[in-house]
Amino acid sequence: MSQVNRLPNGGRIDRSKTLSFTFNGQHYTGYEGDTLASALLANGVDIIGRSFKYSRPRGIIAAGAEEPNAVLQIGASEATQIPNVRATQQALYPGLVATSTNGWPNVNSDMMGILGKVGGKLMPPGFYYKTFMYPKAFWMTYEKYIRKAAGLGRSPLENDPDTYDYMNQHCDVLVVGAGPAGLAAALAAGRSGARVILADEQEEFGGSLLDTRETLDGQPAADWVAKVIAELQGLPGVTLLPRATVNGYHDHNFLTIHQRLADHLGDRAPIGTVRQRVHRVRAGRVVLATGTHERPLVYGNNDVPGNLLAGAVSVYVRRYGVAPGKKLVLSTNNDHAYRVVLDWLDAGLPVVAVADARGNPRGALVEAARARGVRILTGSAVIEARGTKRVTAARVAAIDTQSMKVTSNGEWLDCDLVASSGGYSPVVHLASHLGGKPVWREDILGFVPGDAPQKRVCVGGINGVFGLADALADGFEGGARAAAEAGFKVVEGVLPQVLAKPEEPTLALFLVPHDKGTARAPKQFVDQQNDVTAAAIELATREGFESVEHVKRYTALGFGTDQGKLGNINGLAIAARSRGITIPEMGTTMFRPNYTPVTFGAVAGRHCGHLFEPVRLTALHAWHVKHGATFEDVGQWKRPWYFPKRGEDLHAAVARECKAVRDSVGLLDASTLGKIDIQGPDAREFLNRVYTNAWSKLDVGKARYGLMCKEDGMVFDDGVTACLADNHFLMTTTTGGAARVLQWLEIYQQTEWPELKVYFTSVTDHWATLTLSGPNSRKLLAEVTDIDLGKDAFPFMTWKEGLVAGVPARVFRISFTGELSYEVNVQADYAMGVLEKIAEAGKAYNLTPYGTETMHVLRAEKGFIIVGQDTDGSVTPDDLNMGWAVGRNKPFSWIGWRGMNREDCLREDRKQLVGLKPVDPNTVLPEGAQLVFDPKQPIPMDMVGHVTSSYMSATLGRSFALAVVKGGLKRMGEKVWAPLVDGGVIEAEICASVFVDPKNERQNV
């Protein structure tokens, strides 16, 4: 198909480079420099999709980020699908594949269109709330259908082949928007030597200068743009970010910019390059030069393809050499829009008429149009368009804007393009992301940014400064001010000369009256993306939704990816008028990041796949891999879970590993335990205060188990701490608690007891820890060490230094299995060599590596707790039957002592840790199962505790569990029942929590 609407010349496109693309399966061509939207318009494609609610045919309205309808699905393959792309913001590239997201089965004959034709009656605002709320269970069904029909785009089903990343930027001045004001601001700030970032969402810098009729210093405005860019590129402190949308304005001048580095190049980014990048910018000062969005007028059938914004028509004609129609009617309330008339005439096309709502417009542009013989109907407006798939005529009638009445029958004008302009709304979105209510200015009929806590300057259109000369001056001054405030010396600059063309005031007109009244007029759309009509807004206010936020939520005005770019002010004006109040009294809704949609890829950056989360590995990881370990995530650590041999499942492997430890010797990598080196004359006193038990008398060479509580008396960590020298201790913590405990020690030392002389340093990563556990551990270790391992020379709960496998080691004789155990600590760099030698020597003893699962079973058999599994932040040491670890006579009121002496903590019927033996020894209680004393009681049952740990024990030949049970310590031998989700009930007997070797005869050998 040829480019029927392409003008013979003009535009910033390269006509020597023809690009082919497809839209909804049809092949088209465009030129390099086109956007997808300009290329579609060039090809005469009118219908771009179906509307969200009423399924009406929709076409392109705008030329930029404010486009509500042309929101398409892009992607030539499943993996490269991108939803929610505005055709007006997507550069054309060869082979681009675009499809409508709305419209099922296709945009030209749509199933919901039938519903949509009568949709006004069927789907009033609040329709979804009112209709689909009941029955509740059906919502899922409805939603699926509605989503499919409405078409919100879809994410790819395959992995995205492209890469995305973040870049952290810092600058003195961030300039948002590279239109006239933004360029001038960047120039002023850049020349001062400040670090400046200039970001603009479009393919090219220049903004309105790329399509303006005005000249700068007598030259085309685009020439000045090129000159400025060249100068900025030469300044070392200036970073230029084209195709970069500033999407969010966050606290303390932190802004996020979504830059599309390769989206204009092809379906996939060139190999080795990044497709999109999120710049996370911390800016000393922000200059917002976001400009304005032209506001459409709201009239009947204003959504039929062929209704465009006046300024957008100019952009398509001047920037892209595309005429989106043949016969133009302009409906306006201001002077500025008249430029489209001149642009249209310059393109050699007929202007049917201009309807100007004002009584006697005499501005320079108006006179220029008049001079060229254009028919201007004053005091009039287009009140209604005709056409289904394309505008065929427009009805222009006289209107009275005070009474909001149509005062003449008007006439139907034959045309295929209605351009409308209702004035210009400053783009205040970014200025409002952090709050700071916009302020209404009656003189420009728009909201401008109000005061805000941020260090920012608003320049140009956003500031209500509309004229080109004024915008340039405002921008330059604002850029200079921002740089000066950031501490830079500003250099004077000369601004280009602009021929001033004074404009007459805009008339306040938002909704154009219709002779049938709003409720019965053809649909007058306010928000085309969310299908919100003027009638719907009036209905919402009549139904009592008076607050602007309520109106928004009831009607969906400004929802979703649209963020009210075109509809917001018109909607407010209609709601205000309906309520008989002013627009500022109505106020505006909040705008939220992001300004336009951001792909998930850009949000994820490089934090995906194998880089999603940091993985921590021990020095012995490669050995575990080599020996077939299955790994478990413990915090960020990868710990061996179990080491299955051929054909073994978890249970078989764990049973074998447990037996090996109890019968001979096993090996555990305990390197992940937190280790904190503590030094200082007050180290002991500090330990006394943070542990529940006493540390004053722990001799050098000895180690002790300690419980740590929070101030409320509840256990929050545990571990063994060894006395290395009088003022020197090595504390161990749980794997998951390492960072938490170190911070806990620091907060008390730094904020409560700074007088205590003690320092803490993490040595978790420095030491690798190999635990040998089992009756043969002594014999095995003796083969590789010079340390005297004799029962008396090296008793339980002591430590020794010496060589192990030729490496200096600290060996701790402590046990988490109840067996004779040694924990060998060596500098991590040497751990692999030590392990290999131990493993070699261990062959004679069936040395068996075991993982966390076996560790859990073995310790549970001994009744040793795991903090966070057997405790949950509501368990005191006494609840754990560990009162032996509570120093009741320590002089200082240590952390937890006051808390655990509250009346509630002393109750005898608190949940206490006990053992459970299921009556059926082959049944393993599910961990977390709730327990009751009477399984026959009515539901809801009185729950008296829950299972905390539960395993099958190879050693015991039966299942067993640990549990917390109300008053459990005095209920030995009694029964509890665990009613399960599936209706079954497991019966168990309460017993002591130590199942194996209660006299500790195995570890004290």
């Binding site: 966050h250 606290d251 303390h252 001048n253 932190f254 911390r282 952090l434 709050g435 700071g436 209510k437 109000g450 005061d451 805000a452 806590p453 909040m590 101030e711 409320d712 911070q743 620091e746 907060i747 730094q750 904020t751 409560e752 700074p754 009121s893 002592w897 006051r898 808390g899 002496n901 509250r902 009346e903």
Partner: protein, 107 residues
């Protein structure tokens, strides 16, 4: 994301390097045993939740690992000062020149 001046590193750093640790200037009772349950409960659980000036305890967790205090406006998120443990805040009322609350966020 806030930007916080660490009084030890003596420069502004990104919020992600810090953790907030609640209200500042809540000393642990010197003799917890002498506290009634009510006094102890107040120490443990009751915190101010002001609209406006708030003194907070922060730690520069990814930096120098030091705790310090910050005076922050809970409405505008302005941070008026940061100061070391043991020091007293200089800002206890909204300073002149601070952004008026009305201009700040409304949800």
């Amino acid at each position: 994301m806030l930007q916080i001046f660490c009084p030890h590193c003596a420069e502004l750093r990104s919020e992600e390097e810090f953790h907030a640790s609640g209200q500042a200037h809540i000393p642990r009772p010197l003799d917890p045993a002498a506290c009634t349950d009510e006094q102890w409960g107040t120490y443990m659980f009751f915190r101010d939740n002001p609209r406006g000036i708030h003194h907070e305890l922060w730690i520069h967790a990814a930096g120098c690992r030091q705790y310090f205090n910050a005076t922050r406006d809970t409405v505008t998120y302005e941070i008026f000062e940061t100061y070391k443990i043991g020091e007293k805040p200089q800002v206890t009322a909204k300073p002149a020149g601070a952004v008026p609350e009305a201009a700040a966020r409304e949800e």
